[in-house]
């Protein structure tokens, strides 16, 4: 029980760090089932109502989606740098890269919000009883596409928001902590952040690119 382990169960900080990483991987597996379930729903619907889904997909903004993908992948780079710096004990550099990561996450959310607003104005958001006007074929199943689109992207956005809050919490809590527990926390938060990015890497082609 050295002083720097968080849990009394571990003998050394190194073993605890390995266990932390393993725990985060298990959690990522759990989260993958959450998104996997909804994506499977989407795939089944995509196969069943192909033309309606293809037509509906063309109404999403490819430009904003692509920009957002770039923003999020860049945030993964800064997160990886933060992990690298924290491991090397350069806490100041780690703080800056973590703040950059959170900022890029926020930029993503702003752009996503802009997209939502555009879709509301176009009348293709079947949410909160907003009027739904879709000119393509099979508008009922196009509405299903947009229902799934909003459910999936909102769930992803919620995860990203949690990620930003966790980074803020990490920065606040780690001010006086010792280097090894800081590195451990950055590693855990980093794994979560990369996972949320990877979810978007799947969502983007599935929602925006197929049959474009």
């Amino acid at each position: 029980m050295s002083a720097s382990t968080q849990s009394v169960a571990f003998d050394t900080p190194a073993r605890e760090k390995a266990a932390d990483a393993f725990g985060m991987w298990v959690f990522a597996g759990s989260e993958a089932m959450l998104f996997g379930a909804i994506m499977l729903v989407f795939f089944v619907a995509r196969v069943s109502y192909g033309p309606a889904f293809a037509a509906a997909s063309k109404h999403l903004s490819l430009t904003l989606g692509a920009v957002n993908t770039a923003v999020l992948i860049t945030s993964s780079l800064t997160m990886a740098l933060a992990h690298f710096h924290a491991d090397a004990g350069r806490w100041r550099a780690a703080v800056w890269t973590l703040m950059a990561t959170a900022l890029l996450g926020a930029v993503f959310l702003v752009i996503k919000g802009t997209e939502y607003a555009m879709e509301f104005h176009e009348g293709i958001a079947p949410v909160l009883g907003a009027p739904f006007a879709f000119s393509g074929p099979d508008p009922v199943h196009a509405a299903f596409f947009f229902s799934l689109y909003f459910a999936m992207t909102a769930l992803h956005g919620l995860h990203l928001t949690c990620g930003i809050l966790v980074i803020v919490g990490l920065l606040a809590l780690s001010r006086g902590a010792d280097p090894s527990s800081r590195a451990r926390r950055v590693q855990a938060v980093g794994l979560y952040w990369h996972f949320v990015d990877i979810v978007w890497v799947f969502l983007f082609p599935v929602l925006y690119l197929i049959n474009r």
């Binding site: 849990s7 725990g23 909804i38 619907a45």
Partner: protein, 551 residues
Amino acid sequence: MSSDVAMRANYLEEGAGPRAWLLTTDHKRVAWLYLVSLTAFFFLGGAFAVLMRVELATPGGDLVSDDVYNRLFSLHGIIMVWFYLVPSIPATLGNFLLPLMIGARDLAFPRLNLASWYVFVFGSLFALFSVLAGGVDTGWTFYTPLSTLYANGFVSTAAMGVFIVGFSSIMTGINFIVTVHTLRAPGLTWFRLPIFVWTIYATALVMVLATPVLAASLILIVLERVFGIGIFNPDLGGDPLLFQHLFWFYSHPAVYIMILPGMGVVSEVLPCFSKRPLFGYKAVALSSMAIAVFGFLVWGHHMFVSGQSAYAGVIFSFLSFCVAIPSAIKVFNWSLTLRKGEITFEAPMLYALFFLALFTFGGLAGLFLAALAVDVHVHDTYFVVAHFHYIMVGGMVTAYMAGLHFWWPKMTGRLYSETWARVAAAATFIGFNLTFFPQFVLGFLGMPRRYHTYPPEFQFWHVLSSAGAVVLAAGYLMPLCYLGWSLFRGARATDNPWGATGLEWQTASPPPPHNFDRMPTVSQPPYAYPMKGLEHERFSPHKDKVRETAA
């Protein structure tokens, strides 16, 4: 060792008062927090069941209206499944025993463990609110479009409660998985783990991988009710059947979340009271994993009459039969463990034997339901109700009682009244069969589930069932009294009152705060029980010749 330990504080004495308990990160105390809350929910859910049985004693609806009855069975199901059965053994006995059994000081993430209890309490507040505010009438399954378009209860609140409690399940699951991987004592290889640890591990895997799918379906329901998007609403292009797929993708594996830990308890109790090593240890260990895997592939057998394709029905039927194989492997191995054992009938053993009988019975009834043609006949009747109560109550709750009695001396350092415990065990067994066996008959005769009135010719069976429910209730209330009494007045227990193997019995009763004074090492397989005078029987390849020479 014990005299040495007795002078030091045990985990119950270290820090008193509500603050020390509510902010504890000791897995043994967190187990108690869960035990108290789960007991409350068990009796709340039980009270709803008793009201239903009283109503069903007569054919007419004279105690409650149909509306109230719908709320009674919905709340009974929601509370029993999510607020009692799913967390029951893992969160109480599992929490208490897992670190002890693998020779660890605590779980890998002690604070996460405490957090999981708070999340559980937070979620249960939602459920309790929906009870007090007027209830839910969708049944525990929240089927759409009833739950999204027509139900007029507090569906969103109850679904949120279940959703939040799911997080607590996932937290517990992650904690258990990481603990088993990283904190086993030196020498404790995977195939030296007690079966209880194997089953808890398999349960944790299912918790981690299935619960998020339930979360997904409940999120979609709440999105639909609150934000008006149309995932399950055909008017908006959605598909009501989709919900059943998502729901059962979780809820069938959840059945194994509920039964696997019970199998673990029984695998500990049977060898101890027959003084025999567990027969076919590896087969029992691996069949737990097989059940966990197969459990993910059979959800469609809940939907034989829901309009899925006939081909899907055939495949799901076949896969459901496959789950019976690992379960049967366990039952045969348990039975062979008893063979030529020196069996004694202490209360935990009685419960374990009752488990064996009731689980086998309920499991065989499950094969009827897995067969497509029979299922079409008995679907949504009392036959199904009887089947899953034999597994969930006859199996799981009985195993829970077996485990609670078996490890009670370890948890509290006290002994309960053996006589009362045996009486209670017998009362549950008799009461249980009297309650649920008539329901098999009723179901086969065509009595549907979820009705508060019925034709008079069914009354005989319904009265039997209601009478049984009273006996069963007495059987569950008795332990509350004598176990509660033993907490304060029971005789002091020794460190190992049953002469059991396993690391948890090698420390003091109750254990010290960090479980072991000296961290244990393991050098032999589990269940090293003596086989007095039977060595030649078991190990000689020329058994008959030995007998001849002896003659």
